[in-house]
């Protein structure tokens, strides 16, 4: 005779345990990877927008109110929270060959889950990453 109960019992217990622990670590890894990547992704988006609008500014000699609104609309459509965006730029028309500038500051709220002490529940830890993209060029007006 054989006893199937003991052998099946050990794997029946270990397999879900291994899966649960592994999934937990995979979830942690995913969160870590996303948190590590997000600043690069937002910075790249911000950098591209600033580059586009410094070219626009070169043509007008400053950041016109309409273009400022367009910039905010484009940032919002790219996923930026415009409440956290600050735009500083040359606001009066500048003559040909004179310097113009554009600075976009974005306060990115990074939310990181953290384990509570002595339990398996998690809380969210908020930290703000300040992203600052500056561009200087000259007016071609």
């Amino acid at each position: 005779m054989f006893s199937i109960k003991s052998s099946r019992g050990s794997t029946a217990l270990t397999t879900p345990l291994v899966i649960a622990i592994s999934l937990f670590f995979i979830a942690l890894l995913l969160v870590f990877c996303v948190n590590a990547l997000m600043p690069f992704i937002w910075y790249e988006k911000l950098s591209s927008h600033s580059l586009k609008y410094i070219f626009v500014m070169e043509e007008y000699g400053y950041l016109t109110p309409d273009e400022r609104n367009n910039l905010l609309i484009e940032l919002a459509s790219s996923g930026f929270d415009t409440d956290n965006v600050t735009i500083s730029a040359t606001v009066t028309p500048i003559e040909y060959g004179e310097p113009i500038f554009l600075e976009i500051v974005y306060n990115y709220d990074m939310v990181t889950p953290a384990l509570n002490e002595g339990s398996l529940s998690t809380t969210e830890q908020n930290s703000t990453v300040v992203m600052n993209v500056s561009r200087q060029s000259i007016s071609k007006r």
């Binding site: 052998s7 790249e44 060959g97």
Partner: protein
């Protein structure tokens, strides 16, 4: 006679092994996917730096030409272009006099080459002939690694080259 107990044991272990291997693949996939996304976005950032280099050098040409025409400077030479390039680079990337930005994503920039070629020469980066006035610039950009900063510091160092033909800048 077949030992059913050992058969059940080995079947259970095989299942467990299979699950571990599958999870290993999932972890590997996450790492590879994250790396691919990271590389793609760093490339995009480096491309904006390259376009920025072009913009700065073009601005330098226009600004210095204007100063020259107004008599504010007596000549336009390599040092005048270099000073303008360095000044705007410092402004755009919030760099100090050593071209370091401390705890920022682009943490350091080295100006590896900055030349103003007026005669015929050969570009030592591309190997192509240069036969018109050209500003030749090559910079090294150090991006802050998120993890394993010491190990990855060399991997996150990028060289960017940009030539600007001075006579082709619109006036």
């Amino acid at each position: 006679m077949i030992n059913l107990k050992s058969l059940e044991d080995s079947k259970g272990e095989a299942n467990l092994l299979l699950i571990i291997v599958l999870l290993g693949f999932v972890v590997m996939f996450i790492f590879l996917f994250s790396t691919a996304v990271l590389v793609s976005h760093i490339n995009a950032i480096m491309y904006t730096v390259k376009v920025d280099m072009f913009t700065i050098n073009r601005s330098a040409v226009i600004a210095l030409n204007k100063k020259y025409e107004r008599g504010e400077i007596s000549s336009i030479n390599r040092d005048a272009y270099y000073d303008y390039f360095k000044k705007v680079l410092q402004y755009n990337y919030k760099l100090d006099n050593n071209l370091e930005a401390g705890n920022r994503l682009i943490e350091k920039i080295d100006i590896l080459q900055y030349e103003y070629y007026t005669g015929s020469t050969v570009d030592d980066v591309t190997g192509k002939a240069i036969d018109e006035p050209t500003i030749h610039a090559q910079i090294g950009v150090r991006v802050k690694p998120i993890v394993f900063r010491t190990t990855f510091s060399e991997l996150f160092y990028f060289r960017i080259h940009q030539d600007v033909k001075v006579n082709r800048i619109a006036r």
